[in-house]
Structures are given as structure tokens and as C-alpha cells.
Amino acid sequence: MFFVNDQYYTLDDLEQQYTEFENTPHLRDCGNRRLAVCMPDVFQWLALCLFVRRKGGSIVPIHPSVPKEGAIRVASSAGSHILLYGNTHTPIELSEQKNAREGVLVQMSSGTTGAPKCIERSWDCIELELESYVSVLPADHQTTSIVACPVTHSYGLICGVFASLRRGAEPVILSNMNPKYVLKKIKEHPKHILYGAPALLHTLTLLIRDGARFDCVMTSGTLMPSVWLESLKSITNRVLQQYGCSEAGCVAIHPDVSDPREMGYPLPHVNVEAGSREYPGEIIIRDSEKTIFTKDLGYVEDGVLSFLARMDDTINVAGLNVYPQEVEDVLMAEPRIAEAVVYKKIHPLSGERVCAQYVCTQPIEEQELREWCREYLAPYQIPMEFIQTEEIEKLPNGKISRKRLGEGVLA
């Protein structure tokens, strides 16, 4: 059925777990109830998730590293009736109030753009996504999904675990984030598709040895810098990318990425709309139930969706759009720059201006950086302010908040 790290679980193990749940009053009657779950045991969590889905109840996954008080807060704001913290035996009762609907997976959006939002998706809607996802993913039942990202998040849970089970393969779920361990698992399953976030994939690229290679690698969540993608591609048979959001799940897959901005072909169950290359627009997703405005800026060309920036991140310099990623790629192509992030600051007189923070391996004069930029960028794209830093600040989910970096006013 599936592996969690080295431990193999069969269908029998799952059935046995279901029986145990049936004998637990607060779980047996979970239909039309909302359960928040924060548990370190991956098998128990997945079993519970599948059990609640079967019963028509709702589930609120909470990452196992969240402390108890934090979990209670998240669970309450998601309208949960009970919270299972650490185990299934001692439920924390939270509410008796009825929610508008149940039979949903509840997720909190990442909060890159503000306070986290509570997002509900019906199990039917997830079923539809899965069917659509599996129909276009270039992987058969002999390809092992190696899931090296949290299975409390939709990327790991739906695309990593559920989609793998649906195509008849046995996923390998890694909760142990030792990169060397991930590499070992990859060796054990030569025909694989590895699910990870760019930071992990990049670390693995730097640690892989002895001519070893990745088969297929899936990236998602945040744009991968071009130089990272290049080095990843040189040791991987095929790099895939997927794009989506908590409201809609996965909506596009690229089967073979060469430009990190290319998110790929929209899945058959959705309609994805964005501007053109000349006039990029907001990425709008329509499925059978709803229309989602993503606040992402992109375009569709030859059927391929490309992502440029969060709309909030796009920098408007005197009417000209600057996409941070484009400038970051130029900066990171300078051999001495290890990492760079570009964001906007508001200048009290002249409006939005491009600013950059960078981490370097050897000292660089600001003048050298400007000259480097001048070779590749238009004058309005060149950062006005360069700040050298030891590390670039990230949010707890590993994403960079350009908004936060740009807080404060340009001197």
C-alpha cells in the first residue's frame, strides 16, 4: 500500500486501523463533524484522513511541528469540533456549533499576502482533481512517488500520496528530512518521481554523488531560480513542475521544464485564463463550481501557462512592470552571488522602486553589480538599492515574503 520512511503498511494494516477508529466513539461518529488533526505518526494521520473521507466528515490537517496552543488556535478558527493532538485517544473538545457544510478538506492558505484564510474543498472536488491529475501525469503504476514534503499540505497529500494510490503505485512518504536519507531512498527506487520544494531539491543537487541521477523530479510552491533549475536538470532525466493554489488544488503540470516560469498545461478539469506575453494578466481558474482569482500574474502562450509574479510583488516603475524573478535570475547568474531576492519599496516622491538583497560567497562592489545588471537589464529594472545580507529572511513555510522585505520606506 505505502511506505512511511522504512516502514511498509499493507491494506490489512489500514483496515485494522479503521476497526480501531470504529471502536473509538468520537471517531466512529465523525460524519458531518469537523476534526482537526495534529499528529506526528504519518500512518495514523493518513489512515484517519481516509477514514474521515469515507465517513463524509471534514478534516483540518495541522503540521505536526505546531505546538499545542497554536494547534488549538488554528483548529478553532477552522470551525473544528474536536482537535486530536499527538494521538487519537484524547480529543480536545472545541465547539458544538454546526458549520455551513461538512465533507470537506480544510486548509489554511499560506498567508504570504496577509492573514491566513480558511479554505474548504469537498471530497468530490478533490476526487475530480485527482482523476484529472493522474490522467496527464507522465507516470505509470511502476513509477514510485517519493514524497519528501509535508503530507498535511495539499501538494504532498493530494498530489504526492492520493494521486499515487490512485494510479496504483505505492508511494514512499518521507517524514525524515535528512537529505542523505532522501538520496538513499531515491537509489532504492530507480524509477521514481520525487515530490519536493525547491529548497530541498537544490540541497539534494549539491549533495548527490558518484554520478547518481534523479529519474523524475516534481517542483512546486515557489519559483525555482534559473541556476538552480539548470543544475537540477543536469542530473535529472526529467524535471516537472506543477502549479495550483489551496482553493483549486493543482491546475497545471509541465511535463518537462526548461524555464522555471513555465507552469505547464492546464489540467482537463479546469479552465485557466491569463493575459498574453505582451499583456500579462491575473491568472483566473474556473472549475465546475467556482471561479478563483489567484492574484498571480501570468500569461498563456501555445497552451502553456507561465507565472511571472504575485500581483502584489510586481513592481510598477513609472508605469513599467518589473517582475522580481527576472531581476533575481540576472543577479544569481553572477558567480559570486549565492542567493538574491528582489522586491519593491515605495519612494515617497517617485513611487515604486526595485530593491534587492543578496547573499554572496565573495565580496562584490556595488558598482560591479550595477554593471553586471546593465548588461542584461533595462535601466528601470536595475535595483536602486542593493543590500548585502548573510541570509534572506523566509516565512515559516520556506517562502520569501517580498512584501515583508519591502516594508519601510526608501531613504
Partner: protein, 92 residues
Amino acid sequence: MTREEILLALYDIMQHQLELPSMAAFHEDARLNEDLYMDSIMILQLILHLEVDLGFDIPDEMLVPKDFRTVGSLADFLNRLQKPVTAEASYD
């Protein structure tokens, strides 16, 4: 490397490579997660620096959470890594 040198190297990575804002709490008993506020991505980067910059060969096994709990337990773990098994046995 002696255990003292390992502690210094850890301090150096955390201060200069990871630039932890919580370095005032750096101490042998400081917990990586609760006291130094390191998240999984930072642990990943720490392992990368230990491997690539300092030449430690982190085993490709499951990391034992106990080893990565505090600065001191991590130093012990790295110290053990350096010693061949036979030599370690002879200490007992």
C-alpha cells in the same frame, strides 16, 4: 576536530551562514527548534554546510531527533561520526 572545535564550527555556521537572529541563546543546552528557532529548511542548510564546507559525512540513515535536539547533542553526534567504530569500541 575536537568537540570544542565542533561547537565553534556550529556557532560559526549558525551565526554567519544561517544568520540566526536568536544567537544570543546559543549554548550547549540550547534546543535547535525551541530556543534557536531553526525550522526544517534551516536544518537542511545546516546539514549541507556540515557536509560541503566541513567535510562531515552525515550518514544516509534516519536522523535521530535526539541527536538534533540541542547544540550539545548535535556536537556529540558529529564527534561520534569522526571516530571509526573500532576506535570508539576501544574507548569503552
